[in-house]
C-alpha cells in the first residue's frame, strides 16, 4: 500500500526553520512589474508565452497556406517560408512550451502545491522572467532586422545555418537567434534552480517527496533535466556564433560556398548535431513530463479516484527523465554518424517506451471504476491520452532505426512530433488553464465556450496530423517550400494538403474563443470559491482565493496524507485534502 494514512497519522516533525520573511511589494511596480511573488511571475511568464504562441500560430497559418495552396499567396516566397517554419518551431518548443510549463505552471504551482510561501530565491525568480522577456524581444526583433529572421530550420544545422544560401545565414537572423537562445538559457537557469531547490528545501511539514502531487514531480524532474540539457545547447550556440562572427571552424570543414572555397577546415557538422540533440531530446521530455504530471492530477481529480499506481508513476517519470539522456542520436540515424550507434540508440529508445506505456496504463486505469465528471479539464485530459498514445506509438516507428530510414525527414516525422509534443502537451496546457484559472482569478472560465474550444481544437488537431503521417509514408519530404511534381505522389495528395490547411485555419481561429474566454471570465465568470473542483492538493486549501503574497496567511499548512485521497471508503466527502488530519472530521470545502 502507498503511504495512505487513514486512521493513523505519522508524527509530524516540528518546523526546522523559522517561517520566512518575504519581501512585500511597496508599489504598483514592485507588485505587478518587477514582482517577486512567484504567482505574479507565473502569470507574467504565461501571458508572455501565450503571446509568443499566438505569433507562432499565425506563422503556422502562413506556412500551411503555402503548402495547401502553393503559389496563391505571392508574399510567401521560399525565403519567407523557411523563416516561418524556423521561427514557428523554435518559438513553440522553447519560448512557448518550455516557458509555459516551467516558468508558468512551475512558478504558480510548485510553491502552492508543496505548501511553501514562495520560491526560495524570489529575486532571482524575478530576474528569470525579465531575462526571458529580453530573449523573446530579441527573437521577435529578428523579424525586423536586415535580412529577416533565420530560415535554417529550428534545428539550425550548420553549415547551412551560417551560409548565404539560407535566409538570415549571412545577415542578422542567425546571430539574433543564437543570442536569444543563450539569453533564454541564462534566464531559464535562474528559474530552474529555483524550482528544483524549492521542491527539495521548502516543502511544508509532512510533505514527504512521496506525498507530492505528480504535477510537482513532473515539473521538478523536467526542471532538473533542463538544467542538465540546456548547457549543451548553450555551448553549441557559442561555438556557432564564433564560427559565424570570428571565422572559427568548430562546425565547418573545408567547403565550397557557391563555387568559392571558404577559408575553413577541420570542423565537424555532426558535432553540432550531437550537442543539439543532447539538448533536443531531453527537451521533448522537458515539455512532456510536466504535461504527464499535470494530466495525472486532472484525471484523478475529475474522475474522483486516486491516481492508480502512484509510486510506479513517480518511478516511471524518473526513469523517462534518466533514459531521455541516452537516446539523443535517434534523431541522427541517417545523419552519416557511425551506423553502429544505431543499435544502441534504437534499443534505448524503444526501452523508454516501457515506462511511458506504464504511465498511459495508469491513467486509463484511474478512469476505470472512477466517477468521471466530464468537465472541460477532464475532456482535455482524455484528448491528451488519445493524441499522446497516437503520437507515442508512431515514435516506435521512428525510434526503430531501420524503419526510420524511409520515414526520416518526411512529413511522417512532422506529424509524429506535432501529435506527441505539440498537440498533446498543448491540450494539457488548455486543460490545466481551465482547471487552475479559478484559483488564479477566483472565477470559473465559461463552460460552453470551453467545450466549443475543446471539441474544435481536439478533433481539428487530430484531423490535421493523423492524415499527415500518410503523406510522409508516401515519401513526401518535410521542409519543402513546394512539393512541385513528384512522380510518386498522386494528385489527391494535394487535395489532402488543402484539407489540412483549411482545418488548421479553423483550429487556429478557434483559439480566439479561448482568448476571449480568458478575458471575459475575468469579470463575468461564475464566482469559483476556494475549491470548486473539490480537490485534495494544497493549492485549493489556501485561506484566500486568489491567494495573496505568502499564500498561507498566518500558519503554513501541515500535510497529513498523499495527494490522492479521493473517494476513500468511510470518509464523509469524496475527497480528503492533504492538510486534513483525520478522515472523520471532514465537512465540506476545507477552509472557506
Amino acid at each position: 500500500m502507498v503511504d495512505v494514512p487513514l486512521g493513523h497519522v505519522g508524527p509530524i516533525p516540528g518546523a526546522d526553520i523559522e517561517d520566512v520573511e518575504l519581501y512585500h511589494p511597496h508599489s504598483w511596480i514592485t507588485k505587478y512589474v518587477f514582482a517577486q511573488d512567484a504567482k505574479v511571475i507565473a502569470i507574467q511568464y504565461s501571458l508572455t508565452a501565450l503571446s509568443v504562441g499566438l505569433i507562432a500560430l499565425v506563422l503556422s497559418w502562413l506556412m500551411r497556406l503555402q503548402l495547401g495552396f502553393p503559389g496563391v499567396f505571392s508574399f510567401i516566397d521560399a525565403n519567407a517560408y523557411y523563416q516561418f517554419i524556423t521561427m514557428h518551431g523554435m518559438m513553440m518548443v522553447v519560448y512557448v512550451l518550455t516557458a509555459l510549463f516551467l516558468g508558468g505552471f512551475g512558478n504558480y504551482l510548485i510553491p502552492l502545491m508543496v505548501g511553501a510561501r514562495d520560491m526560495v530565491f524570489p529575486y532571482v525568480n524575478m530576474l528569470s522572467f525579465w531575462v526571458y522577456c529580453l530573449a523573446v524581444l530579441i527573437l521577435v526583433a529578428s523579424f525586423f532586422a536586415p535580412g529577416g529572421p533565420t530560415g535554417a530550420g529550428w534545428t539550425l544545422y550548420p553549415p547551412q545555418a551560417i551560409l548565404s544560401g539560407t535566409p538570415g545565414g549571412q545577415d542578422w537572423g542567425i546571430i539574433l537567434m543564437l543570442v536569444s537562445l543563450m539569453i533564454f538559457i541564462i534566464g531559464f537557469t535562474m528559474g530552474g534552480l529555483n524550482y528544483v531547490v524549492t521542491v527539495l528545501q521548502a516543502r511544508a511539514r509532512g510533505m514527504t517527496l512521496m506525498r507530492m502531487p505528480l504535477t510537482v514531480w513532473g515539473i521538478f524532474t523536467a526542471s532538473f533535466m533542463a538544467l542538465l540539457a540546456f548547457p549543451a545547447l548553450f555551448v553549441g550556440c557559442v561555438m556557432m556564433m564564433f564560427d559565424r562572427i570570428f571565422g572559427t571552424s568548430f562546425f565547418l570543414p573545408a567547403i565550397v560556398e557557391m563555387g568559392q572555397p571558404l577559408e575553413r577546415s577541420g570542423g565537424s557538422p555532426l558535432l553540432f548535431q550531437h550537442l543539439f540533440w543532447f539538448f533536443g531530446h531531453p527537451e521533448v521530455y522537458i515539455v512532456a513530463l510536466p504535461a504527464f504530471g499535470i494530466v495525472s492530477d486532472l484525471i484523478s481529480t475529475h474522475a474522483r479516484r486516486n491516481i492508480f499506481g502512484y509510486r510506479m508513476m513517480v518511478w516511471a517519470l524518473l526513469a523517462i527523465g534518466a533514459l531521455s539522456f541516452v537516446v539523443w542520436a535517434h534523431h541522427m540515424y541517417v545523419s552519416g554518424m557511425n551506423p553502429y550507434f544505431g543499435f544502441f540508440f534504437a534499443t534505448t529508445t524503444l526501452i523508454i517506451a516501457i515506462p511511458t506505456a506504464i504511465k498511459v496504463y495508469n491513467w486509463i486505469l484511474t478512469l476505470w471504476r472512477g466517477n468521471i465528471h466530464l468537465t472541460v479539464p477532464m475532456l482535455f485530459a482524455l484528448a491528451f491520452i488519445v493524441t499522446f498514445v497516437n503520437g507515442g506509438l508512431t515514435g516506435l516507428f521512428l525510434g526503430n532505426v531501420v524503419v526510420d530510414v524511409p520515414l526520416s525527414d518526411t512529413m511522417f516525422v512532422v506529424a509524429h512530433f506535432h501529435m506527441v509534443m505539440g498537440v498533446a502537451p498543448i491540450l494539457v496546457i488548455f486543460g490545466a488553464i481551465y482547471h487552475w484559472y479559478p484559483k488564479v482569478t477566483g472565477r470559473m472560465l465559461n463552460d460552453t465556450l470551453g467545450k466549443l474550444h475543446f471539441w474544435v481544437t481536439f478533433l481539428g488537431a487530430y484531423a490535421i496530423f493523423f492524415p499527415m503521417h500518410y503523406l510522409g509514408l508516401m515519401g513526401v519530404p518535410r521542409r519543402y517550400y513546394e512539393m512541385g511534381e513528384m512522380s510518386f505522389v498522386p494528385p489527391s495528395a494535394h487535395t489532402l494538403n488543402a484539407f489540412i490547411t483549411i482545418v488548421a485555419l479553423i483550429v487556429g481561429a478557434t483559439q480566439l474563443v479561448f482568448v476571449f474566454n480568458l478575458f471575459w471570465s475575468l469579470r463575468h465568470g461564475k464566482v469559483a470559491g476556494g475549491n470548486p473542483w473539490r480537490a485534495t492538493t494544497l493549492e485549493w486549501q489556501t485561506p484566500e482565493t486568489p491567494p495573496p503574497h505568502g499564500n498561507w496567511g498566518k500558519e503554513p499548512p501541515v500535510v497529513y496524507r498523499w495527494a490522492y485521497d479521493y473517494s476513500v471508503p468511510g470518509a464523509m466527502e469524496d475527497f480528503l485534502p492533504q492538510n486534513q488530519p483525520s478522515a472523520q472530521t471532514v465537512s465540506g470545502g476545507a477552509h472557506g
Partner: protein, 268 residues
C-alpha cells in the same frame, strides 16, 4: 455518452482511413522489402495498442461517468496488474525491435561485390561519379574543387583517370547489382533520398557516408534532397534510371568522353 461515442468514432475513423485511403507507400524498387515488412509489423502492433487503449477509455467514460450516488473505487495500486502490463509491453517492444535490429545489420553491411558509385551534393544539384573499367574511384578533396574540376577529384591518383563524371544529369544503375553509394557534399548537409529504394542518408561535408541497395526493377525514379540545405532545397532533384545490365554497359561505354581525364586534363 456523446464523449464515449466520439472516442469510438475516432478509432473507427482512424482504422478506416488507414485501410481505405489512397495514400500509401510507393511500390518498392529495391532489396529493402524487409524494411516494409518491419513497418507492417509495427503498424499491426501499434494499431492494436491504439485501438485497445482508446476503446477501453471510451468504455470507462461510458460505464463510469458521473451519476448521482456513484462512488469511485479506492485502490492505490495493484502490483500484479502493473507487473503484467509491464511484461506484455516489454514483449511487444521486443517484437518490434528485434527484427528492426536484424534488418539494420543488413542495412549497414555492404556486400563484397557492391559497385561503388559516388554521389556529390552541392547547393542545389546532384553530381555523380562512376568507376571506369578499373572498377575503382579515385580519391577526392573538396579543396581541389575548381571550375574545371567541379567534383574536386585528385589528378595524381591513377584511379581517377577513367572515372565517369555526370554533372547535374541522370544517374544510371544496373538492375540486380548491389550498389554502394558513397555520399559526399561540397557545401552543406544534403540527403540522398529515393523513395522507391527506401534508402536515405545524409551527405555531410568533411566526411564520406554511405548506403547500399540493390535496384530490383528497371525504371526511372526521382532523387530528392531530404535534408534542409537552403532556399533551393525543394528544387534539388535528380533522376536515377535503372536499366538492364546490357543496356547499362552500352551506355557506360558511350561515356568515354565524360571521363575525368578527358574533362580535366592533368597538364594544366
Amino acid at each position: 455518452m456523446a464523449v464515449a461515442l466520439i472516442l469510438v468514432l475516432i478509432v473507427v475513423g482512424s482504422v478506416a482511413f488507414h485501410l481505405l485511403s489512397p495514400w500509401w507507400w510507393t511500390p518498392i524498387a529495391s532489396n529493402w522489402a524487409y524494411i516494409d515488412s518491419t513497418i507492417v509489423i509495427t503498424f499491426w502492433i501499434t494499431g492494436a495498442v491504439f485501438v485497445a487503449v482508446v476503446l477501453f477509455m471510451a468504455y470507462c467514460v461510458y460505464r463510469f461517468r458521473h451519476q448521482p450516488g456513484r462512488q469511485a473505487h479506492y485502490e492505490p495500486e495493484s502490483k500484479r496488474l502493473e507487473l503484467w502490463l509491464t511484461l506484455v509491453t516489454g514483449i511487444g517492444v521486443a517484437a518490434m525491435l528485434t527484427p528492426g535490429l536484424f534488418v539494420w545489420r543488413q542495412f549497414i553491411t555492404v556486400p563484397q561485390d557492391a559497385t561503388d558509385v559516388e554521389i556529390l551534393g552541392q547547393q542545389w544539384q546532384w553530381s555523380f561519379r562512376l568507376p571506369g573499367p578499373d572498377g575503382k574511384l579515385g580519391t577526392s578533396d573538396i579543396r581541389l574543387v575548381s571550375p574545371d574540376n567541379p567534383l574536386g577529384i585528385s589528378r595524381e591518383d591513377p584511379n581517377s583517370q577513367d572515372d565517369v563524371i555526370i554533372e547535374g544529369g541522370e544517374l544510371r544503375l544496373p538492375v540486380g547489382r548491389p550498389i554502394k553509394a558513397l555520399l559526399r557534399s561540397a557545401d552543406v548537409i544534403h540527403d540522398f533520398y529515393i523513395p522507391e529504394m527506401r534508402a536515405k542518408m545524409d551527405l555531410v561535408p568533411g566526411q564520406i557516408s554511405y548506403i547500399w541497395f540493390t535496384p530490383t526493377r528497371t525504371g526511372t525514379f526521382e532523387i530528392l534532397c531530404a535534408e534542409l540545405c537552403g532556399i533551393g532545397h525543394p528544387q534539388m532533384r535528380g533522376t536515377v534510371i535503372v536499366q538492364e545490365q546490357k543496356d547499362y554497359q552500352a551506355w557506360l561505354q558511350a561515356q568515354a568522353s565524360r571521363t575525368f581525364a578527358r574533362l580535366t586534363p592533368a597538364a594544366q
